[in-house]
Subunit: 216 residues, 2 copies
Amino acid sequence: MGDRRIPEATVARLPVYLQVLVEAAEAGTLTLSSDDLARASGLNSAKVRKDLSFLGTYGTRGVGYDVAELTTEISEVLGLSVDRAVIIIGVGNLGSALASYDGFDRRGFKVAALLDADPARIGTCVGGHEVRDAAELPAIVREQDVTFAVIAVPAGRAQEVADVAVAAGVSALLNFAPTHLTVPDHVTCRTVDLSTELQILSFYEQIADGPSAAAG
Amino acid sequence: MGDRRIPEATVARLPVYLQVLVEAAEAGTLTLSSDDLARASGLNSAKVRKDLSFLGTYGTRGVGYDVAELTTEISEVLGLSVDRAVIIIGVGNLGSALASYDGFDRRGFKVAALLDADPARIGTCVGGHEVRDAAELPAIVREQDVTFAVIAVPAGRAQEVADVAVAAGVSALLNFAPTHLTVPDHVTCRTVDLSTELQILSFYEQIADGPSAAAG
């Protein structure tokens, strides 16, 4: 999947920096030092400086990083400088939680539609969006130029739903179903396994218990 | 937060390998090559071999990795060789989705209790668990030896809930509220921001669009 110039772990931290920057801008802050950024992100400042150096950004000694400039740079690297239309497929508990999540709009994503195959859900309103018939997916993707789909259906239906979305022209899938999806090479797919996060937490928790525990 | 011997990005992939191994074992497979592991994980085999080398595991040339042995090794590194008791605080849409998620049990986590402060929810049953009064949190943590708490309350209440959980003896927090939490040094906290995953996806999607897009 292409470019290796920015390490994965750095890419994963860029959204965190972006959140800190957006909050700083809202509070009227014009510059942030790497120490400020580190403190607000829960990281050390050497890591912050190294991460940002991958963007070609080094800040100004004694002044720090320009908040507006760094916000633009990170947004561009993440491809967020234009709003992206997202559909959420599956409006059960998880899909409803995602639809009601107010962070998407502020981060460059626009929820274009919620889709479900259950007649009992179609036509209801969730998080301010009307739930539409899953059969309308291809038309919605075409009309609203949707590139991103969030999959929040049960594991057994995820591949089928992914196939339909990809056939309709979606090129990036965020999959919350606990199953591996097969997609064509031109499609980017990330699976978010909620137990994965608990397992990663477990690793760091046992390291915090004492170094001997980490020897494995 | 301690040990740097295993890189963060490797730690984040260990749960993926574990899932592949568990599925292989269920299918009766005794050994897997790094190619097999790579294919099922959506990675390249050089990365798989490098990741596993951090565990001190190199496999056997021409045979591959012993599925049972590697499962045990990864489980131990992740601290999953004993079942961990987890509480879920907040039983709205997201908390309900997490409570109904069947992946926790199979990955070394046992949901000890669901907690909510809303009288309308207390006493209801979600995902096979009774919702209990949030006021019972300290007693439940003590009685069931709970170390992990999943926070799925609104952002405005997350810090307060985290403080109560930490005071009760919880040492690891998985926070789904879109806010940064402040915790004492001995507590491990991971915040899962659902829009972060979309932003990371956006990065890789624009790289897939063409290398020039990634230059930033």
